[in-house]
Symmetry: C2
């Protein structure tokens, strides 16, 4: 099966067009929730998405709704009467419910919360209160707990009963009377143990946990590093308040990688699907840095203007200018990107900077030398030995400057607690442009004895 | 707990330095395998890593070894006598064992495989035979199967017994007599069902699976899309041959994102840790595109040389050149990066290109107009109304050309079955440079009536 199940979609499409609710229910029963959500998104026009949605059993509706893009959730929810919406959010998982709740205006938030049972309302309001981008905002409150004094058999029996209300029963938590997290045990260990073994004896060593204020990147990193099914989240008093499951960590890791890639090309603040983004939101996410760089590039223009006379006297120099500044920018983009990504994955830490700098100088010298050799003959043929030597020497210098700046800037931003991904390729290119112009023409005036 | 558990590391470090094997075993028992692997990597000198490694129980050794970077695995393995190595790989999971096996030369491969039990040897050789980057090369052969005719209670009892040999018991597969995959059932469903329920009644609808030849990106995408714990992998005859678990999918997704980011800055073929990469491997991964772009940039130089006389007569034009070509490149880098990432995550598909192109034209016109307004006053003050108008009109044109090229190139590469990530920022910048020079000077000659 591919990620686009075309055959079942076609059957469902026909049922939808015939208005055959019976066939609709049957066709939907054989599809995954993620596929159904995609089908709903492709069939929003003319109330057809709503029709399909209503043909689903109530329990399934909550799951499919959780898979929808936020803008589709918002659109669909305005079409539902409040009681139906309350039924829907009750069927959603607690973390997705809180995310959806935050999409609504405060009037609707109030209306909806009044229709929920007290326990659900309190849970929802608590989960919705955490700062976006933290473990608290990501976590689900539907975790399974067992007592440390229980036997493995008793614990399994308890899990069997509480399973419908939990996000996962594969990782189970042991808490004390004050709900402080004591340890964790996997269902695998519970099942393979002798039924009489105490849970406290089965608890894993080296429990990994995070706090509600932990950044979501760090949450995703912990889950990936320790291959966890779920990460327990505690409050300041070490009380268990939620879990983040591996599937949410995958979504965070993907979103964070997307954000870093976008930042690397000076696109900022574009959340959600690119395909579905409005022209204005795209404009807004792109214009800011483009304007900043327009003004930054005036410095390069000023650098060129400063050497206007040198250029007028030696127009042959101009031929090599784009080549040299571009090479500096390209080498710098490489080292900046390597560094930004290595910092994001945790491969490189701030303390590594000294060793990495010496390695970068060595690598950049090698790159610059090779590139200098590549342009030497072109320089010689086109402009004679003097300019050829200037071009070759400039090449080595600018590639080294570009590379070192590209490497150090992300480190510096990281150290100053800014996002290293701000060291975008266009920013590095601009810095390389300015320094390339200055290095080239000052080298030319010095070596060729120009005015 | 942070991702760097400093306190337990310090205790372990002291035990290592005292040579106290007893304290070493005890300290190691309280740490996660991932942390232990990091500790080994930080303490390779002077045989200390090996010492720690030997202090671990045999079963744990295999797990920790699986977490080590390939180069560390290779280094450590040469220090172990063959029988110890055979014991170690026996304790590893089947997928990590196959990856490690492929690091060794064929002589050592042969020696090692002779020391394994027949079943393990055959399994290892089969897993090691799949093409790198496919589901086959990623999968583990340690999956759990149950019969469709079994009751839930019988299935759980069978899982309890086979658990030690399986990668996960949370997702279980149903196969027929020819080992063809019939369906899947979760342990959650088995546990919550009445013990007498037949497994075939509990099987989930819409089974998601992949073939051994499926690319690993696609495997990771399926696992993320359907929130799977494990994805079953079948051969051409629909026989179940392995599973890929969510934690491996997370590693693949991270590695693929890293590769795409690197490609976006023309770094290619750098596998594994950047921090640990040798200067030569860095040089090799960077030099190829730098040299290609050096020669590509000669076209920009040639473009400038073509207009040498125009420039000589109107040196004021030069001031705005870097600004205009850089703006084209920056806008193009934005649209290319947005498109490359959206294609990689599956957000955008080839069929979307027409709609996205019209949106891009609209957005780029808005961006170009805003940037033109930003430079208009600078142009006016510095070079008078004529050049100001030329600069502003050029800005709109180059931003639109850059954006459209940036958007279409990844699509085109995707369509021609090349990697869209090859549409790197430096490549887009270079194309934008050439077209920027041509557009600017031809507009200047036309509008200002220059020669």
């Amino acid at each position: 099966m591919s990620s686009e199940p075309t055959a079942p979609f076609a059957t469902l499409q026909q049922a939808l067009e015939r208005g055959d609710d019976q066939a609709l229910s049957e066709g939907a029963a054989g599809l995954n929730a993620a596929d159904l959500a995609e089908f709903v998104e492709l069939n929003l026009e003319g109330g057809r998405g709503l029709r399909l949605f209503r043909a689903l059993p109530a329990e399934r509706r909550g799951i499919v709704f959780g898979y929808l893009e936020p803008d589709v959730q918002a659109e669909l929810s305005t079409l539902l009467p409040m009681p139906a919406l309350a039924e829907l959010v009750t069927a959603m998982s607690s973390d997705e419910r809180a995310d959806f709740f935050l999409l609504m205006d405060s009037v609707r938030q109030h209306q909806l919360s009044q229709l929920l049972a007290r326990r659900e309302r309190e849970d929802l309001l608590r989960l919705a209160s955490y700062r976006e981008g933290t473990a608290g905002a990501l976590m689900s409150s539907e975790y399974a707990t067992v007592g440390g004094a229980m036997s493995a058999g008793q614990a399994i029996e308890q899990l069997r009963q509480t399973a419908p209300e939990t996000e996962t029963i594969y990782q189970v938590y042991v808490v004390d009377a004050e709900h402080r997290l004591q340890g964790a045990v996997s269902l695998r260990n519970l099942i393979t143990a002798l039924p009489g073994t105490r849970v406290s004896e089965l608890m894993a060593s080296g429990l990994v946990q995070a706090e509600v204020e932990t950044e979501q990147e760090e949450v995703a990193r912990l889950i990936a590093r320790y291959d966890l099914i779920a990460l327990p989240i505690v409050d300041a008093e070490q009380r268990l308040v939620g879990i983040v499951t591996y599937d949410d960590a995958m979504d965070v890791a993907e979103a964070e990688a997307t954000e870093d890639m976008h930042k690397g090309a000076t696109v900022e603040g574009l959340d959600g699907s690119f395909r579905r983004a409005s022209p204005f939101s795209l404009y807004r996410s792109r214009i800011q840095w483009l304007i900043i760089l327009v003004f930054a590039n005036l410095f390069t223009g000023a650098g060129i203007a400063h050497y206007e006379q040198t250029i007028a006297d030696n127009l042959a120099l101009l031929f090599f200018l784009p080549l040299l500044v571009a090479s500096a920018g390209n080498a710098g983009a490489q080292s900046a990107t390597l560094m930004v990504r290595a910092l994001a994955t945790g491969d490189v830490r701030t303390r590594d900077w000294g060793r990495l700098l010496s390695r970068e100088v060595l690598v950049a010298a090698g790159l610059g030398l090779t590139m200098a050799l590549a342009v030497l003959s072109v320089g010689f043929l086109r402009a004679g030995p003097g300019i050829a030597v200037v071009v070759a020497l400039t090449m080595i210098a600018v590639v080294m400057v570009g590379s070192v700046v590209g490497m150090l800037l992300p480190f510096l931003l990281h150290r100053l607690r800014f996002d290293p991904a701000t060291a975008s390729t266009p920013l590095i290119t601009t810095i390389a442009d300015v320094s390339g112009v200055v290095i080239y023409f000052s080298m030319a005036t010095a070596l060729l004895g120009l005015a």
